[in-house]
């Protein structure tokens, strides 16, 4: 009996060893380019590529960071991006979570058409929208304001958020809500108190998606914003890029700095990516 157990434990350990090894290999492939960018940001002399493979370059210096923070409005741009992104994610996830509930729990005419309509909003090649978007922004006098951008960003992430949330809601057994409804809770209350807490993984995926999309968005921002004070970091960073010469040191430093908030959000979201309640116990 004892021997058997230890064999199982051994197998488990071996299995974990391979899992760790596999993940570390993949993680290496993911981290390495970021480290190369770090190298560029530390390298003196604005070179994007180098024949030198060492990660800490000769004569490493933080001068690019100092110049980025000192000579440009980079912090301001980061801040602008941050508030736009947070507002977008908040609105996007709220709208999506309720709309997905309708798709998941109700039968109504036009349901399938509605789902496909959502998808089809992603099918026009984005670059073709520049001209009509520009005309629209001008007509609505939304240039240089964040309102248009917030609406555009939260709406354009909706299809994915709604679909993913609907898929997730579908896996939650109806019996849970029905029990609550019998207890006298309203449908909205059941949604709020049962469905939402159970779908934190999907909600956090939707949030992460909204966040990264809005954070890295360029096209709409380019059309809407003209004054550098109001720029998001994407526009700001491209101030450093000219026809031939780009200030790669500062560009890389900026890229490092904008990656950090996103990684923080991902790290923080770990908690929410795990389902809040073990479905198994309730399902029984």
């Amino acid at each position: 009996m004892k021997k058997q157990l230890s064999a199982a434990a051994k197998r488990k350990r071996l299995q974990h060893f391979f899992i760790h090894a596999g993940i570390i290999l993949f993680a290496g492939a993911c981290v390495y380019p970021l480290l190369r960018i770090l190298t560029v940001s530390l390298r003196p002399g604005d070179k994007l590529f180098s024949t030198d493979l060492s990660l800490i370059p000769a004569g490493a210096t933080f001068v690019s960071y100092a110049r980025l923070l000192g000579d440009t409005m980079f912090l301001r741009w980061l801040w602008n991006s941050l508030i736009i992104t947070l507002a977008t994610s908040f609105i996007g996830v709220s709208l999506a979570s309720t709309a997905a509930y309708a798709f998941s729990r109700f039968r109504f005419p036009g349901k399938k058409a509605g789902m496909i309509l959502l998808l089809s909003s992603q099918m026009i090649p984005a670059g073709m929208l520049i001209l009509p978007l520009f005309l629209m922004i001008m007509k609505l006098k939304l240039m240089n304001t964040y309102l248009g951008m917030i609406i555009a960003y939260s709406v354009s992430s909706l299809p994915f958020s709604i679909w993913i949330l609907k898929g997730y809601y579908d896996t939650i057994p109806r019996s849970l809500e029905e029990a609550a409804l019998v207890d006298g809770t309203s449908q909205v209350g059941a949604f709020w108190r049962i469905i939402l807490p159970l779908s934190t993984p999907a909600l956090s995926i939707a949030f992460l998606f909204n966040f990264t999309t809005a954070w890295n968005e360029y096209l709409v921002a380019r059309v809407v914003l003209f004054s550098s004070k109001q720029y998001t970091w994407t526009l700001g960073l491209f101030e450093l890029q000219g026809q031939y010469i780009t200030q790669w040191g500062m560009f890389a430093a900026g890229s490092m700095l904008v990656t950090i908030p996103v990684l923080c959000v991902f790290l923080y979201s770990s908690k929410w990516l795990i389902s809040g309640l073990t479905l198994g116990s309730v399902k029984g």
Binding site: G22, Y32, I37, I83, A102, G127, P132, I151, V155, F266
Partner: protein, 394 residues
């Protein structure tokens, strides 16, 4: 101070949007609730167009005749609620309304605009006329004919380009899903450093795409790139690989499309991984426990429990992933567009942008975009149909 101002501004915007949503819901609710009351219909006919006019005025969009347009549409809406909706399905429609009105606001105008362009002739030589008079020569379907009969690229035909695009799309999506699935399965174990691993693995998604692609492109450089250096090192230690045809490669000039695909796969795996990881959370462990008792193997559990149960979450990600990859040109532009502009890695959409932006063939590219739209549309309808069929079977 400026920071406070921007917080204040954005807070107002959120309230404004919330207000808009509330107004919309109230408007719909009153129609759902009182569709049978004549008094409501009369007052609605007066009040709502007036409010609409007020809204148009504040945005400076009011034109003579706006009021009658609004009144006519209000009549139609009232009739629709009276005879078609009849107060049914109140909850789902009201839940969906904000999302769909938002989408309509954002996309109806651009879509109509593109359709208009595609049936007219806007190009370098007519752009001045359009700017000065606002009218364009009508072209019928000739732009669409051109889309299928001429090629936007010099070396290959439209159909070959379509084939290349399909290969690009499916290979990318396939590797995104497989890679993401493997990683998610590995991460879904009870292992240490899980949070850290997950954070490291999403770096390609979290990094600004431009920089991520440029960095990866550097790694594929013929002499200084990491990939070729590794290949050389491998050849030194394992010389027999050389006889199998393994050798350092001029990635960017000899295999541009393959290079783009490899980079795009690298970029897209983390997203799928996160989605699938979320999906795995929805599977109750009781299924696995039951399967363990029956003595099912790991692969059997994967095949009969995991795969079917994450399908509802995976399916939207795959469908949308396909649409996005089909339309994704960032990687292709950044990898080849600057390295001597090779056309060998162009897909439909990147070729479309060249026509639109290099040669100002707006109408041709609008027709092209509509064709791309139609292809994707039929693909997803078809795909969803088969998905539904599979679901019924289960």
């Amino acid at each position: 101070m400026e920071i406070l101002k921007s917080i204040y501004e954005v807070a107002w915007f959120i309230l404004l949007i919330a207000g808009g949503v509330a107004v919309l819901e109230g408007y719909l609710y009153s129609h759902f609730k009182f569709y049978r009351k004549p008094l409501f219909e009369v007052s609605a006919l007066i009040v709502f167009p007036l409010l609409g006019l007020l809204a148009l005025k504040t945005f400076g969009l009011a034109a003579p005749g706006s009021y009658s347009w609004l009144a006519v549409s209000e009549v139609l809406i009232l009739l629709f609620f009276r005879f078609a909706v009849k107060g049914r399905h109140t909850v789902p429609f009201m839940l969906l309304a904000p999302a769909f009105v938002g989408l309509a606001l954002l996309l109806v105008y651009p879509f109509v605009f593109e359709v208009y362009l595609s049936f007219h002739d806007l190009k370098l030589t007519t752009i001045m006329m359009w700017k000065n008079t606002g009218t364009l020569p009508f072209a019928g379907i000739s732009q669409y004919v051109k889309v299928f009969t001429t090629s936007p690229l010099s070396e290959i035909t439209f159909w070959a380009l379509l084939g290349r695009t399909l290969v690009w799309t499916f290979s990318n999506v396939f590797f995104h899903v497989t890679g993401g699935f493997i990683l998610a399965l590995m991460l879904n174990n009870q292992i240490r450093f899980k949070g850290i691993y997950r954070t490291l693995l999403v770096i390609p998604w979290a990094m600004p795409q431009v920089v991520a692609v440029l960095a990866m492109r550097g790694e594929f450089h013929a002499t200084n790139g990491f990939v070729n250096i590794i290949i050389t090192k491998l050849l030194d230690t394992l010389p027999f690989l050389g006889s199998l045809g393994v050798a350092p490669v001029q990635w960017l000039s000899d295999y541009p499309l393959l290079t783009c695909t490899l980079i795009n796969v690298w970029l897209g795996i983390p997203f799928m991984m996160v989605v699938i990881l979320g999906g795995l959370q929805s599977i109750s462990s009781s299924y696995y426990d039951a399967a363990d008792i029956d003595g099912a193997s790991y692969l059997q559990k994967l095949r009969y429990i995991t795969l079917p149960l994450i399908r509802p979450v995976l399916m939207p990600a795959v469908t949308l992933g396909t649409v996005w990859t089909f339309n994704n040109i960032n990687v292709i532009y950044l990898v080849t567009g600057q390295a001597g502009g090779t056309e060998q890695a162009d897909i439909l959409v990147s070729a479309l942008y060249k026509a639109a932006f290099t040669y100002n063939r707006y109408s041709y590219s609008a027709a092209f975009a509509i064709v791309v739209f139609a292809m994707l549309f039929f693909f997803s309808v078809f795909y969803l149909k088969t998905f539904d069929a599979a679901k019924d079977e289960r």
